[in-house]
Every structure is written in C-alpha cells, then in structure tokens.
C-alpha cells in the first residue's frame, strides 16, 4: 500500500533512537542495529512512544546498517534492514516509515580508498532490502561528505521508487566536516531528485537556525530540520543535553516561521521533545520566495554565474598539446593536475575538461580525470565532450553540481542530453545552433535559444540551469558575424533572462597578434553583458583585461581587487635579477626565482643538451653528494630539485619555440606508483622530481594504484624499471602482491621499492630487485640500471 506524504502540512519526524537505546543499556561499541534482532520489543516500544507523541514519520533503526559496518559484527544487512523496517511498519499503522541510511564511515577515493562503485553497492543493498520490506520513503541523514550523499541519493533513486529525503550535518563554523556550505549542498542535491532536504544532528537548534535560513532561500523542495537537543553535558556522571523540550519547541517554531516544513529531533531528543512540537501542526508551511540561481559547484565552492564575469579555463584539452596527449594515454594524471593548479592560481573560476583523444577510452579516462581533479582542486568543472556516454560517466562521479559542455538546438541532441542534465542536476552550456547550422543574425540565434529553453522545460529543467553560448566565428573569415554575436548576447539575456557564455579565442584564428584581438573582443563581449568567458587564464593580458572590465562594469566594487593587484609597484624579487650568474650556483643554492632567467641566458649560447650536461647534472650531483655526506638536509635537496624543474620548463619551452622535436633525453623510462591501499605519496613525489631532474621519463601513476593498472602500464609502456612505494606494514603486503604478479606474468621489469617501514632485508624478502632508502638513492639505482642496459 502506498501512503501519501502530505507536503501541504507541517510534518513531524521522530527523535533520537541511539540516545534512547543507550538509556536502556546499550553498551558503547555495540551496534544499535543489532537490537533489530535481539531487542525487537524495545525498538517497537520506542517507535510506539514517538507515534504516541505525534510523529507522522518514524525512522527505522538502520542508521549504520551497511555491510561495511555490520560485517565487523557478523551481522547481515538483509536481516537487520528487513527486520528494522518490519518492526517500524507494524508500529506505524497508517503513519509513514522512513528507511534510515547513515554514512558508511569511510571516505570515497581519491581522498579515501573506498571506490565510488563500492560505496554505491553498499547503499544499494540497504535500499533494496528496505524498499522490499515496505518502507514509505528513504531518509539519508547525518552526511558530512557531499560526495557520499550524492552516491547514496543515486543508489536510492535508481533502485527504488520511493521518495528520498536528504540531510547533512554541519559544524559550528557553518560547514560540514568536509567543508561543504549550505548553498553548495542545496545547489548540488536539489537537482538529484530528492523530495526534501535539510539539516540534522551535530548542532543544537540555536546554531542550526542561521544555516536553515540559508537553505530556505534556495531550496526548491521542502526543507527538513532535525537538530540535536543542544550540546551534551556531563551532569553528575550522566550525559544530559542542554536544551529541554519546551525550549526546543520554541526554536522549532522559529524554524517553521522561516520556511522549514518537516521537523523532528536528533541526538538527545526523546518523545517529550516531539510531543512539544505537536502544536506546530496547526500552522501551514510558509510559501517561500525562492532565489533561483545559475550556479555550479564543487564540493566546497559554488560559483554563481552572473554575479561577476566568470573565467572558464580552457587549457585542459589535449587538442594541439602533445604533453597532455601523452599524459592522458599513459594515465599520468599529475600533468593534468599541474595544468589545473596553474589555471586556478592565474584566476580561473571554473575549469573546462576535455580528454578527447582517438586512441583512448574517453568515458573511462574522463571519469578518472574528474575524480583526480576534484581530489585537489576546489573549482567547479565544465565537462566538455560531444559524446553522451562520456558526459554521463563524468557527471556521475562528479562531486558537486557540474556544467555540461555542451548541448545545442538540434532535436536529437536535446533528446539525448536533456535527460542527463535533468537526472544529474547539472547546468548546461547551450550552443545557439541547430540542424541548419549557425544562424547569421542575432534574432535567429535568439529563436534557437528560445526553443532550447522551452524544450528543457519539458524535461523539467529550469532556464537557470542553462547558459547560452552565442557562438564566436573567426574575424578573418566571417567578420560581419562578430557584431551579431555581441548583439545576440544582449538580446538573449534581455528576452530570455538566461546567462551567456562565449569561447573567446576562436575570434582571432588565422590573424596575427591573436592576444590583442582576443582581449579586445573579451572587453566588447563583457560590455554586451557576457557572464562567462572560456579563455586561457595563463595569458596574463586576458586576465588583465578582465580585471579592468570588472572595474569599468562595476563588478569590482570600489575597485578593491584592482587596487590590491595593481597599485603597488611590483617589488622585483632580487633573485630574479641575477641573470649572469652560473646556473650551477643557482641550482646549488636553490634560487628558484633566478632559474628561469639564467637558463634563458645560457640557451642563447648553448644547446639544451649542453646546458643539461654541463650545468644541471653536475650541479645536482654536487648537491646530492653533499646530502649523502650529511652536509645538507633534505629540504635543501628538494629545493635544488624544484629549481632544476624550473630550468627544465624553460628548456622545454625553448625547444617548442625553436620548433624542435620534443626534448628526448633518452635516459630511460620509469613508472612510479604508491601501491593499492596507500594514500601517502609525498616520498614518491620526491623520487619522481629527482628522477625527472636527471632526465628520466617518469610515468607517475599516482597513489592507491591497483595491481591491474600497474601491470597494464608495465606491459603497454614496456617499462623496464618500476618504482613502488608504501608507507605502512599493512600496505607493504600489497607491494609484495604486486611484485609477485609481475613475476608471474613473466614481465621483464625490475622493481625498486621504498617506504618508511622498509629496509634492505625486508625489500628483498618481498621480492624487490632494488631498495631505495631515499630519493637520492632511487636516482643512483636508475642511473646504474640504465647504464647497464
């Protein structure tokens, strides 16, 4: 029987389960869910007390009923969940039963080691048993990790037809433990098809109130509040909570007045608290004014499009970039991470990600790149592909509210992609073209934009989630079209009230001094009202133009940002002035800021190979030797290595400019990985840096790398020397397994290992060929190895 949820009235949830069980003698370290088997009467009694007190919805005693937790106690998910729902179902009669799902207690990769798919399956299992047993809705609660919440919501909506409610728990600083703020939560989760969302646990009602005020501003679905009874306090050896039922109810009333319509309690509350909420049922939920934003989010940052012009960094695109092509096909994602960091530091607000290469599995690669990027970069991402499967793979594993780049006015494209935009709650870049191509006038582009907005509405997509791309043609071939594009920006914004975006650099194709044209066009487009520009943020002139426009268009209030950035006459780093001095000294002393100038100077009279052989390598050897003798410390060695890296970057750019073939020092190719289960990789990164300094080609597979990926790389890249690192005794086991697998496959590859718990004997015990105590020794091993071969 399907029971209706009455959103037209205030709905009362129940209060705490765990708190009551403890008062009935549950021991610490004992899973409360075990009472679904051992203490069924007690659970039924607690449900009964809450129903008696006036709860419309009771939550099952299944908060931690996932197999990750239950298996530690030898309990089965099926039994615990089924029994939990059955007990509640019998107690509830005509009231509603919410299948309670709490966090898994582990982080998802790349921050943790639990995979997206593993997490999904853990939730799926709970959902299937809970739905089968007769729950009326699914409550996903107490989440601190937005990513985990997204996985849980997907598992719930894809494996049941039940309505899904989602609540997160926040800290006193207004963020979840993982750093998500209310706006980001609402922006991400409300698009995933939940029927209600809000806050539970963690804080008392006092601290929850301002956070709820933020949520009711943006949430398009009913808002839930289930706070704790304040903070726990010790009173004569007993834990009591600081806020009593009456006070709790008065805060609850304020919440309802702000626009909360589903209310209950969390830790520390009991049936008396719910009883005190009963009078709230006589009022009607507030009709809220909802602010509709065009906004994209990462897990910890939301960028509101239209607040000020947004920069979408375009550099993560392998087209025409050999180093990115190579990195993508070798799965060396650190190269992409570095490219992303550079763009962020140059001022990008979003990053466009395109991994389109003919020879790779684009969907798989895209998903992997997205995971890696969101592990370290807090900018929202724009997912750039022509292929539906690639887009789905990416938006699925995306942590936040993504931007899909792009949809257009063709019927089949809209039919293919709008369901995706809707399901994953994404924003979409919409190109104003259709089956007939790009229309020549602004008016015609407006027509297409209108059709796109209307079609999207049929799929339940708000126009706020669409960003219109008015399309840039090249001035060299279609000069008359440039003013039309500018006109289209203002026209579409005025007529449709949607935000706009342009890919700027196309305008200058085929003309000299492209930057001049690009930055001028950027200024014109911003003047016409452009909201987001896809540009190369490393082009300082583009960013400078944007900074100026932000002042002139009154986005940079009181020119505050401009003043900080431009008014102080740039203090020249004294080191940057050294240009005549010896590169050896620069590396030896770790004068990173001087490295670029000195190297450029040297390249005027010497070839890159001469610079490397006569300056860089001897300098590194000298520093390395001193380090070995204990005459200087590790930070000094690393600083010298970082300085060398700068010199190498100059040499690489020089080679590109001189249009020479890419610098192939041919010193040998080495793959590095931190083994499966291990997430500590600072040591591995040091090894990598030093090896690269010496001209070795390093394929960095990253951390927590599975045996399969390592084997595949060794096979396909014909790796002769592999470096593995592991920090703990527990992960050295995986190192041993990986080495055994390499031997078993009969791969002709030597393995060097390093890590905190290893020593020479231990290394040979697990079958390694070489043991490197530190990064310096890894270099020695590699030099020796490739000399012999």
């Amino acid at each position: 029987m399907k029971r209706k949820i009455d959103y037209e009235n205030i709905l009362l949830f129940d209060g705490a389960m765990g708190t009551l069980l403890q008062s009935y003698g549950l021991k610490t370290g004992q899973p409360p869910e075990s009472y679904n088997i051992l203490g069924q009467e007690l659970i039924a009694q607690i449900h009964g007390e809450y129903l008696q007190a006036g709860a419309d919805i009771i939550t099952t005693n299944t908060f931690g009923a996932n197999s990750l937790k239950l298996s530690q106690y030898g309990l089965s998910v099926n039994e615990i969940v089924t029994s939990g729902v059955n007990i509640a179902r019998q107690a509830a009669k005509d009231k509603l039963v919410a299948l309670d799902i709490g966090p898994l207690g582990q982080f998802i990769e790349p921050y943790g080691t639990l995979s997206f798919d593993e997490a999904y399956l853990l939730f799926k299992e709970q959902v299937i048993f809970g739905a089968k047993a007769g729950a009326d809705l699914i409550l996903i609660e107490t989440m601190t990790d937005l990513y985990e919440l997204k996985v849980a919501v997907l598992a719930a909506t894809e494996n049941s037809n039940l309505p899904v409610f989602a609540t997160m728990t926040f800290q006193a600083d207004g963020k979840t433990l993982m750093g998500t703020e209310p706006l980001t939560m609402v922006n991400t989760i409300s698009g995933l098809g939940v029927k209600a969302l809000g806050i539970n646990c963690s804080l008392g009602p006092i601290e929850t109130l301002p956070l709820l005020e933020e949520i009711v501003k943006y949430a398009k679905v009913p808002v839930i509040a289930r706070p704790n009874a304040g903070l726990p306090k010790e009173n004569q050896g007993e834990t009591v909570f600081e806020i009593g039922p009456e006070e709790f109810a008065s805060f609850a009333k304020q919440m309802v007045q702000k626009g909360v319509s589903i209310i209950g309690g969390c830790c520390g509350t009991n049936p008396k608290y719910i009883q005190a909420l009963k009078e709230l049922k006589t009022v009607k939920p507030l009709k809220r004014q909802i602010q509709k934003l065009t906004a994209v989010s990462s897990a910890t940052k939301t960028v509101i499009i239209g607040e000020k012009p947004a920069v979408i960094g375009e550099r993560l695109n392998p087209t025409g970039k050999r180093y990115l092509q190579e990195a993508l096909s070798q799965k060396d994602f650190s190269v992409l991470l570095q490219e992303a960091i550079k763009q962020k530091e140059a001022g990008a607000d979003l990053l466009d990600v395109n991994v389109g290469l003919p020879e790779i599995d684009e969907a798989k690669t895209m998903a992997e790149v997205i995971k890696q990027l969101q592990g370290i970069i807090d900018l929202p991402l724009s997912i750039d592909s022509m292929n539906r499967d690639v887009l789905e793979a990416a938006v699925r594993v995306y942590n936040g509210k993504p931007l899909i780049n792009s949809v257009n006015g063709k019927d089949d494209v809209m039919a293919e992609l709008f369901p995706l935009v809707k399901k994953y709650g994404a924003c979409a870049v919409c190109l104003t073209l259709d089956e007939k191509g790009i229309p020549p006038t602004a008016e015609k582009r407006l027509e297409i934009a209108k059709r796109i907005v209307n079609k999207a509405a049929q799929y339940g997509i708000d126009k706020e989630d669409l960003i219109m791309d008015c399309l840039v043609l090249t001035a060299s071939t279609e000069q008359s079209q440039i003013p039309e594009t500018l006109r289209a920006i203002s026209l579409i914004k005025k007529e449709l009230g949607v935000k706009t975006v342009l890919g700027i650099s196309n305008v200058s194709f085929g003309l000299p001094d492209r930057t001049l044209l690009n930055k001028t066009f950027l200024a014109l487009a911003l003047g016409a009202g452009l909201d987001a520009a896809i540009i190369d943020p490393l082009d300082a002139e583009m960013i400078a133009t944007l900074d100026a426009c932000n002042v002139l268009l009154a986005f940079d209030i009181n020119a505050n940002r401009f003043l900080t950035k431009y008014s102080s006459i740039k203090k020249q780093d004294p080191q940057a002035q050294i240009t005549e001095e010896d590169l050896k000294k620069v590396i030896g002393c770790g004068l990173k800021a001087a490295a670029s100038g000195v190297t450029k100077n040297l390249l005027k009279k010497l070839t890159p190979l001469q610079v490397i052989d006569q300056y860089i390598i001897p300098a590194l050897d000298e520093v390395g030797l001193k380090y070995e003798k204990g005459e200087l410390y590790l930070p000094h060695l690393i600083q010298a290595a970082e300085t060398t890296r700068v010199a190498f970057e100059v040499i690489k750019t020089h080679n590109l400019e001189e249009k020479k073939a890419s610098l192939d020092l041919n010193k040998g190719k080495i793959a590095l990985a931190t083994v499966e289960g291990d997430i500590h990789d600072i040591g591995k990164n040091m090894v990598k840096l030093l090896l690269e300094n010496y001209g070795f080609k390093v394929i960095d597979l990253g951390r927590d790398v599975s045996q399969q990926v390592i084997l595949k790389t060794v096979r396909e890249e014909k790796i002769e020397l592999l470096g593995l690192s592991a920090l703990m005794t527990t992960t050295v086991k995986n190192m041993e397994k990986t080495i055994a697998a390499i031997r078993k496959e009969g791969l002709d590859c030597k393995v060097m290992v390093g890590g905190a718990v290893l020593n020479k004997e231990y290394a040979s015990l697990i079958g390694a060929d070489y043991y490197g105590r530190d990064a310096r020794e890894a270099v020695k091993i590699a030099r020796e190895f490739f000399k012999k071969n």
Partner: protein, 220 residues
C-alpha cells in the same frame, strides 16, 4: 595549538648543521597556514581496565586487546582513556595540492602538520590529565596502534568505540590508515603510582617505521 619550530626541523631531518633563514621563514608561513586550515577535533572516553592473563579488557564495552607491549605500557593503570584527535581534511587537501605544484612547501607543510597533530594530541592529554589528577591519578604516555605488538588493525575498534566518524569525522581504511591523515588514536593509562618515565612525547625508537623520512634517530 602551538607549533614548535624545532620539532618541525627535527621532522625535516635537521640536526647540528646551521639552519638557513629561508627554511625558518617557510616553517613560519606553513605554521600559520596550518593553524588557519586545521579544524582540530577530539574525542575521548575513560574506561575501567581489567587485565587478564594475556589481554586487557575495557569494561562497559565489548573491547579487549591482546598486546603484551600495551599491557606493559599500561602497567598497573586501573583506568585508561581512549582518545582520537584529527586536524581535519583541509590540511591533507592542501598538502596534496602543494605536492603537485611546490614539493618543498608540501614537504614542510607535511612536517608542520605532523608537529601540529602531536601538539594537539598532547593538549588533549593535558585535558585528560586535569581530569585524572582531580581523582588522584597520573597519566602514562600515549600508546597508539602500530607501536610494539599493539596491532595497527586495532584502529578500527578504537574508532568504533569512540564513534569517531560521527563525532570528529575520523575514518580508517581497509589497510588501517587513518583518514584524515593528520590524526592520532591512542590509549593512555590512568595510574595511582607516578609512571617511571614521566609523560614525554612518543619517541621515534618506539615506532616500527625504521626508515621513515621523518625519523629522528639514525636510519637503518
């Protein structure tokens, strides 16, 4: 939380030689960044101990440990405090970010964060000590999973006991690594007799990571 510069230098392997001003400035900068980024959280609970032949039981819980070294360490403690502390995830993310863009700084941040979590662990011990001394107890040193024969795998049990995920967002992986990484779990004994080696910080020599790059004593 106070970050001692000399301890950071120790982690970075400095001993004896002259220390450049650059590195001191960098540690200074990293320290204030860590203090900004860290969201230190702690949880601890006191349990009465019951020592059986080869194991220690925590009363009022389902937990017992088979560890000769832990048993030795706790000596005649009649109670123990089980504690967990963390700096939170932001610090880790910043180190990962720097590891891709500025390895020297990443390394110094990492060492600074390690110093910070140890300092924070000591602060929490001080809180426990105040509580203990009111009742006439002394505190032993902290003892963590992975020391001696106290298995690393006990991390999970300690976290379960403290409900550490809900309370402070601390988790442990299948391989028994704590995440957030800059975190500590430990047991401290509460004893009526002053411990022979009065509370000092844990020493590198107690640790199994014989070749840790942060190790202060000579490596193997």
């Amino acid at each position: 939380m106070k970050i001692n510069q000399n301890e950071v230098l120790g982690y970075l392997g400095y001993r004896g030689l002259k220390i450049e001003a650059d590195i001191r400035n960098l540690i200074e900068a990293c320290s204030s960044e860590i203090l900004n980024l860290a969201r230190p959280k702690n949880v601890y609970e006191i349990y009465r101990l019951e020592s059986e032949a080869d194991q220690i039981r925590l009363q009022e819980s389902f937990l017992s440990f088979k560890s000769h070294d832990l048993q030795n360490h706790l000596g005649d403690s009649s109670y123990c405090a089980v504690m967990a502390v963390t700096l939170g995830s932001e610090v880790d993310k910043k180190i990962d970010y720097l590891a891709q863009s500025d390895l020297l700084k990443a390394m110094v941040m990492d060492a600074t964060a390690s110093t910070a979590i140890e300092a924070y662990g000591n602060e929490v011990c001080d809180l426990i000590r105040v509580l203990a001394s009111k009742n006439g107890f002394f505190l032993t040193k902290r003892y963590s999973p992975g020391y001696g024969d106290f298995p690393l795998e006990s991390q999970q049990q300690l976290l379960n006991l403290l409900n550490a995920y809900s309370k402070i967002g601390l988790t442990v992986t299948k391989s028994s690594l704590l995440i957030p990484r800059k975190s500590i779990t430990a047991i401290v004994g509460l004893t009526k007799t002053p411990p022979v080696n009065a509370p000092v910080n844990k020493r590198c020599s107690d640790c199994k990571m014989v070749n840790c790059w942060l190790r202060r004593e000579p490596k193997e």
